[in-house]
Symmetry: C2
Subunit: 338 residues, 2 copies
Amino acid sequence: MHMEVLAMATIKDVAARAGVSLGTASRVLSGSSQTSPDSRSRVLAAAAELQYVANGPARALRRARTDVLGLLLPDIRNPFFSELAHAAEQEARRLGYTVLLANADEDRDQEAAYLRTFASQRIDGLLLAPQQGGSPELESLHASGLPLVLVDRAVRGLDAPLLSTDNAQGVAQALAWLQAGGHRDVAFVGGPAAISTGVERRDAYLAGRAAHGISTDDALVDAGDFQLGSGTDAMLRILDRGVRPTAVFGADGLMTAGAMRALRQRLGDEARAVEVVSFDDLDWFDLRSPGISAVVNDAAEIGRLGVAALADVIAGRPVASQRIATTFVDRRPAGGTA
Amino acid sequence: MHMEVLAMATIKDVAARAGVSLGTASRVLSGSSQTSPDSRSRVLAAAAELQYVANGPARALRRARTDVLGLLLPDIRNPFFSELAHAAEQEARRLGYTVLLANADEDRDQEAAYLRTFASQRIDGLLLAPQQGGSPELESLHASGLPLVLVDRAVRGLDAPLLSTDNAQGVAQALAWLQAGGHRDVAFVGGPAAISTGVERRDAYLAGRAAHGISTDDALVDAGDFQLGSGTDAMLRILDRGVRPTAVFGADGLMTAGAMRALRQRLGDEARAVEVVSFDDLDWFDLRSPGISAVVNDAAEIGRLGVAALADVIAGRPVASQRIATTFVDRRPAGGTA
């Protein structure tokens, strides 16, 4: 499939000038040892005459195995993704790869810039937790034949294996916990409507809340971008509507922390009476009193399986998409709600 | 400076075979446009005859500007470093670069593997927060002339600009806060003795404690590796010696969190009576009651200045090492210690 990338006008020109086949020109420029000294000499001379050298080596090297994987993440400051990266790297190391990371910072333009960077670097494959909707850069990279596996988030219409969380299961666990706590007025801080995890968690919550005795008043529902500050902003908007939730459910760990900050700003010490549940368990959720209950979204398992799947794609083995089960940590003090 | 790297036996052979100067051979193989078609043709033909091509492109590309920087960090799960990475990336983007990250996971072997990876990738320069003592890979990369700037941690004997925290100032701020709280029995969870930040914080603490009315009993002092679990282990060792500290000072944010976990395991609810101060302020330190006071170690500023310094090195401008000032956030409730 890389042949299509190499078979651009410039390499055709080189092959024609050197009087060799396209395959030979491609092999020479990729550093293959399966070429004769004579054809190497002619191809490289032709490349020099055509000033092909400036662009050539990068493409040529693309074909050589480098044992380096790319990992493009939405937000390196999000503990879910730094944990995923850590586990991915350990699995990669076990399989003989190193991993170069890039951080899209929940920004489509920045993601596109990094996809261009990875396209020009020497990597054997890319593990990607994408921004919304995909991009021309992503389609181009995928079409180039670079092995690609998605983690956490889907891209509509992109045919690549996806290792993701069972978001519906995780939301069902949180809903059951909210119901057991007797909550009716629950604030929900969801993720972006354009990211699959945001959509799946919100849809599962909206569809399930009534059956769990939770108010369907949409004044209690808002959304952020999965980063901390957006959770604060969303919670402030909810409080500004005059509702007084007895519990908050954040669609990721950072927005949950951000929502807690908003509660503290507006309610002071009374904020501690508002129960908090998070989709994602953060390191410090057990260090607060009361502890924060959480859907355990297994970042490490997703990272490990993602790298294993990418290694399979690189090796030409079949790979299936997979949903990873969530678990739930109930940190509600004995005796019910605070 | 790259000339020294290129001037290995193989490129000398290529130059001799092509009948050109070493400089010309170097320029051709680096893809420079300042070469004649004739010399390009001869050098590339000679390279082909000598089978130089297999190794050539990687070295050749080294000289071509890629607008990609490498950032090799000790631990991507440490919020200090993920914040540093985020700020570095924003500054890099402002200057027209993208940043590829790698995570040493506080492991020398893993760092060495990534230094080899970066040596084979197309980057314009490397920003590095090193593991202890340096390595042959680091010396080799530095000797190759790759622009290099250190952040956070020094390497003895390595002549590269360093952007680091004023560790002595930060420790002095924590000592003053401990003294104001009337603490005598303070547990200190330090960093590794082989990492400059570990040494500087420990030395400043040990030298300053007596003057601040703090016990000099070394049973109260232990150390970890800057990761969370090591803080728990160190704190458990301190408690196992039978001492009962009224306050804990952790030499980074993760070890501070780890020490809190140990206190909770051993002391249960009484753990809340132990005051906590951290070198590094984490996102959630204000969300606990009582809040955790902290030395604000300005990761974002170090990341920004590090990238700016690296851009200067790449451009051949002079760069000086710099210590970044710390500030302090006092979250002790009004009325003194808990």
